[in-house]
Symmetry: C2
Subunit: 337 residues, 2 copies
DNA sequence: TTGAAAGCGCTAACAC
DNA sequence: GTGTTAGCGCTTTCAA
């Protein structure tokens, strides 16, 4: 069962290895006849060149890494789809790595790439990632990096994001328009780019709407689901409880609904809810959820396209340019339309 | 910015390449002193061995492939998590490939593995995969393969699945117990292992419950979301419309809820609903959904563990043994508890 | 148009 | 305990 190699192939055909190699890659120096013979034999015997030998020789791997906080989130699932489709199209392979929101793990993972394993990196950083030196280091080593969604502002490379500030501004405006006076905001890690922008959209909308911005209207949630639920329960119990909530990430949707349910707070009667999310079940929640939906698939494919350009075009530099793709505010019953 | 190689490293340290190589791998033949020196220099200069050179030499890649129908499904998302965590633990890298439910693509992808790119394969087959010759071929070539969830019964290798028949039997029983007389079943591709088992659980429960099994109580759904919605709408319109529905896969949940909504059928009043799904939003749907939940993470990690055993233990054969992990019936309002 | 040979970076015999 | 060397499978000069 020893694998067929180019050497064996050459021997069988009575040709030199180099001739076979060239024939396989359809080189113009090889006669049509020889090419046909080689190709036929190769496909008949299911020959697939060893990619690692080729990587070693050519010093490129035709492989990219996708580094994600997690995959159990519909945004990332859809983004992977987008990435994979472009990668396949371009003949690249996709290695997937999960940081589980740990900056330490993220650094560990990136550190491994200083080895020729991948030709480029797509990354959405972890919640813990404040210091971006590990990313700068990998870029300095010559590897193209493209951020998507969760970026590091201080790293000079291409980024694909949504209009977080504007879309959250719009969502907040919408709630104000519906008569909400005490709008709560559920944040995640303060250091996260998306959170900063979304929160700023929120506060600006409040200011523009003449509503005082209060610190205790913002609840910072974390990684642990149980803790988040109890924090939200507590948040909704105060005598100054909010009459609306904006959840900055998808994972906060279930705890918000569950908390309201427990506290017998009716959505949208007592409290209106809006969330950033790509959940396919938003329209069938109880009640249907008003969402800010990111174009996840498109973001993934755009980011991948950019990365491949950065890899393949010698004079295309992945500078600090940022591609912003608008998110959509989808109004539903949870905010009273 | 040329990458640091073992050769350079050796030169800098005034040592032979082989000495450095052994030192890096903590060989007993190397003095503690030399080891320390090498290790220190290596880490100070961020040396990471080129994995492809090593793969080439050792004839193994420390990489596995995960071949999935899609990733926008909470089962697969969770399974990837399970796979990744074990892979990381074992020092393996994970290549991800999506078939998008196409058997052709699946074959294409598997074909590429006849090259040393991966040491093993985890696969959940596409809806279109009836003929499994492409999988048999890759196994015959010597690559370990472990199926998870969607398996091919006629392929002799390890499989990690849930008790599809039994759990669907239980779910159907539950509906019968609730007084349902015309229970509809939404299938997907007839050829899919999970569907066959689930459907059989359904029919057996009907038989055991003394309810006639009718062909027109089974609706075969497909890949296209819109088509599924209209098919379900039609299905629920007949004068002999079902008083309960079992959805065999997660993606059918939104269309079922939407269809009922459109037709003003109340769940669970007019029609009870149960679905196979790992959706985190099941408890907050309108109404909360009764689910058959698979231990997705565990299935992924089990499958990965098995695969690594098959890769690393020379006399551990991945025979036809099947690991069955039970799914859980989580009763909620959609089936009236 | 074809072939010989060097070498990508690493590991593993084997020699010293 | 350390060094020399061959070779994994491929691509790419360069020579014939």
């Amino acid at each position: 069962m020893s694998k067929l190699t180019i050497k064996l192939l050459a021997k069988e055909l009575g040709l030199a290895v180099s001739t076979v190699s060239k024939a396989l890659r359809d080189s113009h120096e090889i006669s049509a006849e020889t090419k046909a013979k080689v190709l036929e034999y190769a496909r008949a015997h299911n020959y697939v060149p060893n990619p690692y030998a080729s990587s070693l020789r050519k010093q490129k791997s035709k492989t990219i890494a996708v580094v994600l906080p997690e995959v159990a989130d519909s945004f990332f699932s859809l983004a992977i789809n987008g990435i994979e489709s472009i990668a396949r199209e371009k003949g690249y392979h996709v290695l997937i790595y999960l940081t589980h929101e740990s900056r330490e793990r993220e650094e560990e993972i990136l550190g491994e790439f200083n080895s020729g394993r991948v030709d480029g990196i797509l990354i959405s950083v972890s919640q813990e990632t404040k210091d971006s030196s590990h990313i700068k280091k990998v870029i300095a080593s010559g590897l193209p990096v493209v951020f998507f969604d969760r970026v590091c502002d201080d790293v000079n490379t291409a980024k694909v994001i949504t209009d977080d500030l504007e879309s959250c501004y719009m969502a907040t405006k919408h709630l104000i328009h519906k008569g909400c006076k005490r709008i709560g905001y559920l944040s995640i890690s303060k250091s996260l780019s998306i959170n900063k922008k979304r929160e700023e959209g929120y506060t600006r909308a409040l200011q523009d709407g003449g509503i005082p911005v209060k610190d205790d209207a913002i609840l910072e949630c974390g990684t642990n689901d149980k803790d988040n639920l109890s924090a939200i329960l507590h948040f909704l119990k105060g005598r100054n409880r909010p009459d609306a909530i904006i959840a900055s990430v998808e994972k906060l949707v279930p705890p918000v609904y569950i908390a309201c349910n427990k506290l017998k707070l009716s959505i949208p009667g007592d409290i209106k809810v809006v969330s950033f999310t790509n959940l396919g079940t938003s329209p069938i929640l109880n009640p249907p959820l008003t969402t800010i939906t990111q174009p996840a698939f498109e973001m993934g494919s755009k980011a991948a396209s950019l990365l491949f350009k950065g890899i393949e075009k010698p004079n295309f530099k992945l500078t600090d340019e940022t591609i912003v793709i608008p998110a959509a505010l989808q109004k539903r019953e949870s905010s009273n339309f």
